[in-house]
């Protein structure tokens, strides 16, 4: 098989993501590729367009704070119990990034349209919201199958240039196991390319184990795989480790100010590389 390129470094993965790319990323407990996120900041990526599936936390906030992002489509960026995502907040308030506000199932639907190769997906709800009022790319029609009336929103297919996530296992054939994280499967199906870091190498072929099969993304959807232990840190990886709450609280505090954020990057992003 012409397998995906495997066992690159996180920095090599980051180098495959061009400036300006539309990048789909899962929510914070869905396998966020944080090691690649740091590598993107190190390589001074520019003009990225983030598409969160459907929300994000430190990943989006760091990329925005570091100036890597021009635009974000999301239904929420927050540090959760650790407070606001302050770099995101500042950038939106100051207008240094473009925001496309959505609601969670709309983001899924946009990807599902791409996954299915249809130009749009219908979705209930949304009508009468200012989310809807501010989205020129969303359209309302009267349900053609109803006798009359019954307005419904159509969402256009969104095909990210890159799906980027961190998964529990990868094997040498290029299979990637995400378990029950269907949003990662959806992202891989919907995107033009899929770049993955994996926590552990699976010895053997993930496709050979019936129990793993349901949670495995086959090589046709996978372009590159990097082996990055602790690759989701400080976020969690299902079945492997919990999030590092102490660190996230430290980040949320640091990110309140420009100086604090810069110092955080120096220590945890650039410093880390210098020490490597």
């Amino acid at each position: 098989m012409d397998a995906p390129e495997i066992y690159l470094s996180a920095d090599e993965i980051a180098s495959r993501i061009p400036d300006g790319a539309l990048i789909g990323v899962p929510k914070e407990d869905g396998g966020a590729a944080m090691e690649v996120t740091r590598a993107l900041i190190r390589r001074k990526a520019k003009g990225l367009r983030l598409f969160t599936v459907p929300v994000s936390s430190i990943q989006a906030d760091m990329l925005i704070g570091a100036g890597c992002v021009d635009e974000i489509e999301t239904s929420g960026v927050s540090m959760g119990e650790f407070g606001f995502a302050c770099r995101f907040r500042a950038a939106v308030q100051e207008g240094t990034i473009k925001i496309k506000d959505a609601t969670c199932p709309a983001l899924y639907a946009e990807l599902q349209a791409s996954e299915k190769g249809v130009p749009f997906m219908p979705l209930r709800g949304i009508l009468g919201s200012d989310i809807h009022a501010n989205r020129d790319d969303w359209m309302t029609i009267d349900n053609p199958l109803a006798d009359s009336g019954d307005p419904i929103v159509l969402l256009p297919a969104v095909k990210p240039d890159v799906a980027l996530f961190h998964a529990r296992y990868g094997d040498r054939y290029g299979n990637v196991w995400v378990g029950a994280r269907r949003e990662c499967v959806l992202l891989a199906h919907a995107s033009a390319s899929t770049l993955v870091t994996v926590e552990e190498i699976w010895d053997g072929n993930l496709m050979d184990d019936d129990r793993m099969l349901a949670g495995t993304i086959p090589p046709i959807y996978v372009d590159t795989v990097a082996h990055a232990p602790q690759g989701a840190w400080p976020l969690s990886l299902n079945g492997a480790y919990e999030r590092d709450g102490v660190h996230l609280r430290e980040y949320a505090g640091a990110a309140k100010t420009d100086d604090g954020f810069a110092a955080y990057l120096d220590q945890h992003v650039f410093g880390k590389q210098a020490a490597a």
């Binding site: 949304i126 009468g128 019954d150």
Partner: protein
């Protein structure tokens, strides 16, 4: 019998969940979560609580769009939402104050509200800060509208609003909140002073009912232990959990 504010609110929420089969609770919601678990215990599991973030009390493999699909199928009977701003028609704003998109104060975002507010029959708004900053005459941004014209397919919508001062019930026919009861120590005047929207107020508004003794006992024993799995500090500090 003595009870805490949290115990009172858990019981107030639980009464609103009466008859619900599937109760979903989002993040950072220990009181709604406790109320959902209470109803699950009281109905011997006929009511199912799914607590986001719990490994035990979340009988779903919920990644991806499944929660939203489930709501669209009519399999979510109750859900909880908050709001940076909430207005008198039940519109909620989770996006920001002032102009859009460059808000004066940007909130995290609308999350699932723009969908779940339409699809879940009983959405309970839970917002403890009772101030004119939060409860405004008109929200600056509608993440999800409180009501929709009759031609819009909408099985769901707001059911009640619970604050640190009082409980409102939402009148779907008139798109207005109606004061239903006060929390102990709060006065009608205090509610009026701190509410930026007009609301209906029947005569003789009193305090909301105190916790039922048997439910209070259950909260302090079984429910405290169950909610502790997701919210240990809350269970320890507010419900006296000893685990």
């Amino acid at each position: 019998m003595e009870f805490s504010r949290e115990e009172l609110l858990i019981c107030a929420v639980a009464r609103m969940l009466d008859g619900c089969r599937n109760i979903a609770v989002g993040t950072a919601s220990p009181i709604p979560g406790s109320a959902a678990l209470l109803m699950q215990a009281l109905t011997n599991g006929h009511a199912r609580a799914s607590i986001l973030g719990s490994n035990v009390h979340n009988p779903f493999n919920d990644a991806g769009p499944e929660l939203f699909d489930r709501a669209g199928q009519g399999r979510v009977d109750a859900f909880f939402l908050g709001g940076g701003q909430i207005d008198g028609e039940g519109n909620i704003n989770l996006v920001g104050t002032g102009p859009y998109p460059n808000s004066d104060t940007r909130f995290p975002g609308s999350f699932g509200s723009g969908y779940l507010y339409f699809s879940v029959p009983r959405v309970i708004l839970f917002r403890e800060e009772h101030s004119r900053r939060v409860f405004v005459d008109k929200v600056d941004f509608i993440s999800a509208p409180g009501w929709s014209p009759p031609d819009v397919h909408r099985p769901g919508g707001p059911y009640a609003l619970i604050t640190s001062l009082c409980v409102f019930i939402y009148d779907r026919d008139n798109h207005r909140f109606r004061l239903s009861g006060l929390l102990p120590g709060a006065t009608l005047e205090e509610v009026r002073d701190n509410t930026g929207f007009d609301f209906d107020c029947p005569d003789g508004i009193g305090d909301i009912p105190p916790p039922e003794a048997d439910r209070l006992e259950l909260i302090r024993t079984r429910i405290a232990g169950e909610i502790a799995e997701t919210y240990p500090e809350f269970a320890r500090d507010r419900l006296g959990w000893q685990g």
